[in-house]
Symmetry: C2
Subunit: 134 residues, 2 copies
């Protein structure tokens, strides 16, 4: 069980990080995500880190890389579910996750992605929630 | 990272199983889920097992227990994302997950929960997707 599963909800891909990420699993995740975005035409990616207790510069870079990859497919990325202790540590370490959008929880993240998708016309007008794609 | 995170999307709670589950983590998950259903009034629970490579009678019983707990809160449970090899093994072992509803993937699972919620009136009429609660 070393591959992080990627779930699809409408036009959004959801990644819930639960395992300790090492070089190999991060590379595999980035590859899998790129393939899934390309295959599904998703307009957004949510990375949930509510199970993550430690975020270091390695993980921070991973978020930035995933966001950059997604952008090449015209998809937005939001990191959600950060624990308070993680946020404090990040700021203390001077890691501000610049360029990576964050939201309190999955629902707020999906709301942000919906607004971004509608503003840019990537979510069809007849689909107010942006979740009806399949 | 031994607690399985529970995500909320509208009236549905989502559990993505990625770690090997042992007695303690299964108990913790059941407890957490019962508390979250009770706190949120969710009408459905989706358990994603796309990362799970082996399902034995222990895990099978866990699904049934979670479904029974959910039912006490008037919530439906769907297990989604089963790998083909897991399905074959389950049938070979005679474990048919009786009483536990299954679906191909997260989206189909959420569609089933939406239909069940609408039929029973647990999803308000003004909310066609069943995802607009927050």
């Amino acid at each position: 069980m070393e591959r992080v599963p990627i779930l699809k909800i409408g036009g959004v891909l959801l990644v819930s990080i639960q395992i300790d990420l090492h070089d190999q699993s991060v590379l595999a995740l980035q590859e899998d995500l790129a393939e899934r975005i390309s295959a599904t035409g998703a307009h957004g990616v949510v990375i949930d880190i509510s199970a993550v207790e430690i975020v270091d510069s390695f993980i921070g870079r991973m978020f930035a890389t995933i966001a950059s990859i997604s952008r090449l497919f015209d998809a937005d990325t939001v990191v959600v579910g950060m624990r308070p202790a993680v946020a404090i540590t990040l700021v203390e370490l001077g890691l501000t996750l610049g360029g990576v959008r964050t939201a309190l929880d999955l629902e707020r993240g999906m709301r942000i992605l919906r607004v971004l998708g509608q503003e840019s016309g990537r979510i069809p007008a007849g689909d107010p929630t942006g979740l009806e794609w399949s």
